[in-house]
Symmetry: C2
Subunit: 139 residues, 2 copies
Amino acid sequence: MSEIESVLKKHQIRPTAIRILVYKFLRKREVAVTLNDLEADFDRSERTTLYRTIKTFEKNGLVHQIDDGTGVSKYALDDKVAESGQPQDLHLHFHCDTCQETVCLTDHKIPHISLPPGFVSKDINLVIKGICDKCSNLE
Amino acid sequence: MSEIESVLKKHQIRPTAIRILVYKFLRKREVAVTLNDLEADFDRSERTTLYRTIKTFEKNGLVHQIDDGTGVSKYALDDKVAESGQPQDLHLHFHCDTCQETVCLTDHKIPHISLPPGFVSKDINLVIKGICDKCSNLE
DNA sequence: AAAAACATGCAATTGAAGTGCATTATTCCA
DNA sequence: TGGAATAATGCACTTCAATTGCATGTTTTT
Ligand SMILES: [Mn+2]
Ligand SMILES: [Mn+2]
Ligand SMILES: [Zn+2]
Ligand SMILES: [Zn+2]
């Protein structure tokens, strides 16, 4: 059994052909991925299947969904934890206005934010928009 | 000329009947508003007109659009600056999982966040989800 | 008053997300 | 091993917010 298959199994995901391919695709790309990105790369497969694949991955803690404000959902591997099974830490996301890519800055934890009395924080979404390292080097 | 009319004119917005009503509605509500909220309150008017009204307000700096992750856009008055004409400061938004309302926390500036080398920040969206003050008081 | 500019109403389109259901593949177990 | 049970896939269809095209109505300008 391949390493990928065992990662999927560790997350209670049956390693079908498409799932293995989607997982490989997510690994290969270092940026967050849309359903359209997947569809473009998998002529052979059906949009709905890819959709349900990624949702299965999400439900089982293998990827997390990213809302970067562009209106389309993106997904990225919880790579640091793909093996361990721990849930991915909260981190910030960066969306580049130039190349339109969104990346996880997993090493940048979200600072503590004080709220007015009575407000209880359960979850935080922090997205920074600007120019990414690749694009700023080209200026 | 009413005070409202002069606020609209200060933002180069012609004070039509609907625009005045929409502006009043935004003032009355202390939370961010969706297009559906507007439509529900304005039986007499057309969705498209309300949409274009709010977009005009936004373009002219009278309201700002809020993406709280629910999938539907919300809008709130740049009230602090409605008179001054200054652009609204960056601030965080709070979305209550209980009452589903979203509020601007205009007094809570977004802390400085350090980025890896090469990344340039132009804009920040920070949304905190949890329980708002009204809902936490009811527990 | 006529022309130009702008606002409004209604119909239609777009695009992402999600669901229903039939078909195919895999697993489970007698 | 041979099904029955369970899960995955494919295709059609729906939903919903956002947005646009165009005709009509209104206001402003000259
Ligand atoms: Mn991430
Ligand atoms: Mn706000
Ligand atoms: Zn970039
Ligand atoms: Zn609440």
